[in-house]
Symmetry: C2
Subunit: 243 residues, 2 copies
DNA sequence: GCCCCGACTTAACATTTGTTGGGTGCGCCG
DNA sequence: CGGCGCACCCAACAAATGTTAAGTCGGGGC
């Protein structure tokens, strides 16, 4: 079933993180959706738009970003299959950042009206989604810590460990490798440093035998050193329904 | 009425930002609450706790913060009267950061159970609060931009302009002055720089005649220069129900 | 198969920010 | 009323990060 593949990563996540009920998920899967494909660097949503749908990432990676007056860009979050990066537009009209496809992406669009009707009918669905947006917020707060306080090296390590954790939930980690389709410039924009500096840090990590990043794929070489750098405490991901 | 004073800043904000209905607000005001006072630097919530109430800031300032392994602290958000800084615990049990009173504070505690019952009964209340947490998240995203991309000077200007905007909603700005009861060290922790550097920036701004910060009070000296530095675009605050 | 473009890589130098350590002033407590 | 502690303030130096400018590499289009 196409539908199965479409909803699978989201349902997987909701089941493990919220203990979602089968009925709520079935009701969700019954919603009408529109699939669309996006290519590398294509904008899905632009700052200022007022979308009438929420989108679900079925496959591929997207990022939220903001560009300030002098042209500098900050990446705010990285989104992977199963994420709903603009649920917030259920409650306010205007997007306040860009949403850009990093790689070839498949997105499923779900109309606000259908979603709101379903939530009115099944409060459990609303609670699941509200929770989802709250975890999204918790991830943003950790992102602030990352950019504000950690050394650039730890920052990159933390970003990588968090993403791996989230990708694992979506079944997208194989052994010690996973996709990270950001250029060094984009990684820099995520960390608040320049691409030149990102390159320095990556070289250091490579030489230190911690990890390698080649053609959009990360390979962890030394898990222990990586953990030591990242000091990752995943409680903010609230992976279990009771946490 | 005590109750009036307690709910006033929240209701004020909800009315202008969400167009909240009178009935929903009355139902809220009927909830049982417990008022508690906190002193400077006193923890309201600690990382790891599982609170059974949500709190409303009635008076005073609080900050969310996280401390990392090496002892460095990042301030994640500044909260003012009318804010509900831990609504997220309605949907997950564990607090993943600290909440600390910056100054003498009055907080109103509302039990999760009472709040959930009310939301089940009146979906409009749930929608209001969901929206509130989404704006909170939008503020966190802008905070990432601030820490990641703006020069320290612009960063401070932006923080000040944002806070002034939010304080205005709560009726807490008088002429060109308002309270900012953070020490230079705390301001630094909010911006991701050291207290020494914060001091440098404040001196520069004072010498340039942009603003003064004395004993927890900001005075704007040159609105035009301030705006030029801050490049503030308040759309992310979603101040009107239709935005 | 060649060329061209974008990503990566690096070095030298400039600028920003952190560190250290020492001062000043004010409010609070004994 | 005196001193003690904390915030503020500042300068000299150290370290991290940005800027600029070149050169390498590899994959896709002609």
């Amino acid at each position: 079933m196409t539908t199965d593949k479409t909803w699978a990563p989201l349902f997987e996540r909701l089941r493990t993180t919220t203990g979602a009920g089968q009925e709520d998920l079935q009701a969700l899967a019954a919603l009408p959706i529109a699939l669309r494909h996006y290519g590398e660097n294509q904008a899905v949503l632009r700052d200022g738009e007022q979308p009438s749908d929420c989108c679900l990432i079925v496959d591929g990676f997207c990022v939220r970003s903001k560009t300030i007056a002098d042209g500098k860009r900050q990446i705010l979050s990285i989104h992977i299959p199963g994420d709903l990066p603009n649920l917030q537009n259920l409650h306010y009209a205007t997007v306040d950042h860009d949403l850009v496809a990093l790689s070839d992406c498949t997105l499923a669009f779900i109309g606000h009206k259908a979603l709101k009707d379903l939530i009115a009918q099944r409060p459990g669905v609303g609670n699941m989604f509200w929770r989802d947006t709250l975890v999204d917020a918790a991830i943003s707060r950790e992102w602030i810590v990352n950019v504000g306080q950690r050394s650039t090296t730890s920052r990159l390590a933390h970003l990588i460990v968090e993403l791996r954790e989230r990708l694992r939930l979506a079944g997208r980690v194989i052994d010690d490798m996973f996709a990270l389709p950001l250029t060094q410039e984009q990684l820099g924009e995520a960390m608040g440093v320049t691409s030149v500096h990102t390159n320095r840090i990556l070289r250091d990590l490579r030489i230190a035998g911690v990890l390698e990043l080649q053609r959009g794929t990360v390979r962890i070489l030394n898990e222990h050193k990586l953990q030591e750098l990242a000091q990752f405490d995943g409680r903010y991901l609230h992976l279990s329904p009771s946490s």
